[in-house]
């Protein structure tokens, strides 16, 4: 447990450092600092992955049960997704200013939740769990990337000569940022759909019904519908620019609530994954 906590603290320290470097680098247009921030983000992945492996071995199951494990796994995806994007296209490095604060806040909050390992419940013990959770995390990572791009778009749009806009000047042209935001939303929408579909197949396997309007199912549909509205606005209503960027910014918290907030607010059949109680699926 101690090794795990030390590793997690190291990861969090890297992410905090990366966040600070992104803020300073972008606000003062210090490109070298932004590159260092990407490096710090990538470095943080190593202790975080090691902490997850250590925990996996210790508790005997994947990091899918309990608030701490779920958030930890999710942030690993968010940061890894961002690092891959930044390394593939250096012009997108500045997006870390939108991604890393989300990672730090969520991981920091997760560190304050109970860290003890929870047992795998009979309903969760299935290979579908890995598929379902992996695609949920991939979707969230893509939504966070679209959120960061949309933030960058709005900042640049509001003050073309401002300090922040100058720091974001290395990003591609606004039209391309707009297009990239849509591409990440589309990728997230695809992953979210796979998450819902795999969840429906799994629910049929575990409980004998593929859809039950459980709060978490309802909210996963809500997120799907919200992003479907975004895609319709973009492709059929021809929305562009800051209106669409604001849409992407406000949609991401809905996805976050669906993933982490629902088991805290509602009594849900999926409560087990966050460490709560599982509601009885079938009555008399």
């Amino acid at each position: 447990m101690t090794t795990e906590i030390v590793l997690m603290c190291a990861a969090l320290a890297c992410y905090v450092a990366a966040t600070v470097m992104f803020v300073v680098g972008v606000s003062f247009a210090k490109l070298r600092l932004v590159s260092l921030a990407v490096l710090a983000s990538a470095l943080g992945l190593a202790p975080q992955t090691a902490a997850i492996v250590v925990r996996w071995v210790r508790v005997g199951h994947g990091p899918f049960v309990g608030y701490y494990e779920v958030t930890n796994w999710m942030i690993l995806f968010v940061v890894a997704f961002f690092v891959v994007i930044a390394l593939r296209n250096r012009r997108l490095s500045a997006l870390g200013i939108g991604v890393m604060p989300v990672a730090v806040l969520l991981l920091g909050a997760a560190m304050f939740t109970p860290l003890a390992g929870l047992p795998m419940t009979p309903n969760l013990a299935s290979y579908w769990l890995f598929i379902h959770v992996t695609f949920a995390n991939l979707a969230f990572a893509a939504f966070v990337a679209s959120f960061a791009l949309a933030m960058a778009y709005v900042i640049r749009e509001r003050g073309a000569e401002g300090r922040w806009a100058k720091g974001l000047g290395r990003l591609p042209a606004q039209g391309v940022v707009d297009e990239l935001t849509t591409r990440f939303v589309l990728a997230g929408f695809l992953f979210w759909t796979i998450m819902i579909v795999s969840g429906a197949i799994w629910a049929n396997q575990a409980w004998g019904r593929y859809w039950g309007w459980d709060p978490i199912e309802t909210w996963s549909l809500v997120v799907w519908l919200v992003y479907a509205v975004y895609l319709h606005a973009r492709f059929t209503l021809r929305w562009r620019g800051s209106r669409l960027a604001w849409f992407a910014i406000s949609a991401m918290p809905v996805a976050l609530f669906a993933l982490l907030g629902i088991p805290l607010v509602f009594h849900t059949a999926h409560g087990g994954y966050i460490g709560g109680t599982e509601a009885l699926i079938t009555g008399k």
Partner: protein
């Protein structure tokens, strides 16, 4: 006039703004509904919510938000969305056909046809040869992430015709999904059946405690029966406690075993269209009716459920009937007193098994109110005796008969295939060639950037202008 009205209705239902608004309405409705107790929840919960929200509860009831996903408002919106999706799929199919044709035409374009019809026209550096201009254009496109091929002095960056089919396939997949879900609602049956260990019941409506069967669900092909062979209270598999897990068999009409399997969450028994899941468990009591001669003349299996609030920890699921004196029908019920640990009932068979038997007459007179152990019997007013043969576990099974599930998965797979193509496949058409005219050498071509392209037309034009300008020759050489 009718045709005109019909056309207007189709145009309205197929409009992008209606589809978007319907998506908004359904998502807002679902969000709101998730905060309001539904009729599926306990009546107490609904009543408590209504008492706490007196101001808005009447409106919630008018809108049907306590049964949000079967209320007329939701059903109407969902149906409109289904029709809209269908019309949208049709429009996208027409659009995809058009784009596929454009891609095919662009793939066959040559320098002469591009010179005759183009929407991109950039003057080249006069000192540049045709080959140099094309190389410069190729590199400029590459810098923007567009890879092109060169054939007969024409640069092609044309997506394959299948790339435009993602969105229509996705929408048709959604239409298929809606049709399958609607059809399945008519055909599917979903019920709970309680079976004591060793007991078998035919798969007919009367065997179920609770049953939801669609109007088209046909029982006629089913002469199967379902049996519980064994029961484990704490079954372990793969290092995980799977909880209560019965062994279930499905038998054919001749009583032959079709399939036997231990069932627990994520490991249902599947045979044909039938899937059997464990739902819950309780206790069972086998009662014997013993005639005056001492021979067993009848037998009944009674099941009881655990109930922490009941005085003995269990409640009867159903009553049984026995003949009283003079042919009067008497009603009986059984409960099993549970063991206690730390002041709570232990949810399992008690160490010393006993059964509390109550038999009452039509007027409420208690003829029997006693506790029996297995092997004990009590006299009835008719002169017969009621005995307890055994006490054990029963498994409550969820039996689902749904022929539509493979079709549902096929529709999902089809939709996913379309969505993957939509998200991944580039939809672009960039064809350029060098044309020589009276005003010198020019790069002409056609550009269409539909989807998944990380650049835009303005960026392409400015990059090409920069590449083919005065300093281009040196850079290329």
């Amino acid at each position: 006039m009718i045709r005109g009205a019909l056309r207007r209705a189709v145009t309205f239902l197929g409009s992008a703004s209606l589809a978007t608004w319907l998506l908004v309405v359904v998502s807002v409705w679902s969000m709101v509904a998730s905060f309001i107790p539904q009729d599926g929840d306990s009546a107490e919960k609904v009543a408590a919510w209504a008492a706490a929200h007196r101001g808005i509860d009447p409106m919630v009831r008018i809108l049907g938000l306590h049964a949000a996903f079967s209320s007329p408002v939701f059903v109407l919106c969902a149906l409109a969305l289904a029709v809209s999706t269908c019309l949208c799929a049709w429009q996208r199919t027409k659009g995809a056909l058009r784009r596929a044709r454009q891609l095919r035409d662009a793939g066959a374009a040559d320098a002469a046809s591009l010179a005759a019809a183009h929407d991109l026209d950039i003057p080249c550096d006069p000192g540049m040869s045709e080959a140099q201009a094309l190389t410069a254009a190729d590199e400029a496109l590459k810098r923007l992430g567009i890879r092109s091929k060169r054939r007969d002095d024409v640069l092609y960056a044309v997506s394959r015709p299948w790339s435009v089919w993602g969105s229509p396939v996705f929408h048709w997949g959604l239409v298929a999904l809606i049709v399958v879900i609607l059809g399945a609602g008519f055909e599917r049956s979903d019920g709970l059946m309680g079976l004591a260990v060793g007991q078998a019941k035919p798969d007919v409506a009367q065997s179920y405690g609770t049953l939801h069967a669609g109007p088209l669900h046909g029982w006629f092909p089913s002469d199967r029966s379902i049996r519980v062979d064994a029961f484990d209270l704490d079954y372990q598999a793969g290092g995980v406690d799977r909880g209560a897990a019965p062994v279930v068999s499905v038998l054919d009409g001749a009583g032959r075993v079709v399939k036997t399997q231990r069932v627990y969450p994520n490991a249902p028994l599947q045979t044909g269209s039938v899937t059997i899941h464990p739902s819950d468990y309780g206790l069972s009591v086998t009662l014997d009716l013993i005639g005056k001669s001492g021979a067993v003349t009848g037998q009944a299996v009674q099941i009881v459920d655990f109930s922490p609030s009941a005085p003995e920890g269990t409640i009867p699921v159903a009553s049984f009937a026995v003949s009283g004196a003079g042919g009067a029908l008497l009603r009986g019920s059984v409960t099993v007193p549970l063991d206690r640990a730390n002041g709570l009932f232990v949810k399992g068979l008690p160490k010393n098994r006993s059964v509390h038997v109550v038999v009452t007459g039509p007027d409420g007179t208690r003829f029997v109110d006693t506790t029996l152990r297995p092997g004990d019997a009590v006299p009835l007013p008719s002169g017969d005796r009621l005995g307890v043969a055994s006490v054990g576990y029963y498994a409550r099974l969820k039996v689902v008969d749904d022929h539509a599930i493979p079709f549902l998965y096929a529709a999902l797979a089809f939709a996913m295939l379309g969505l993957t193509a939509t998200a991944v496949a580039r939809q672009q058409l960039v064809v350029v060639a060098v044309s020589r005219g009276g005003d010198g050498q020019r790069l002409v071509g056609r550009v269409r950037l539909w989807r998944n392209v990380t650049t835009d037309r303005a960026e392409i034009e400015s990059e090409l202008v920069a590449a083919l300008g005065e300093d281009a020759k040196e850079r290329v050489s």
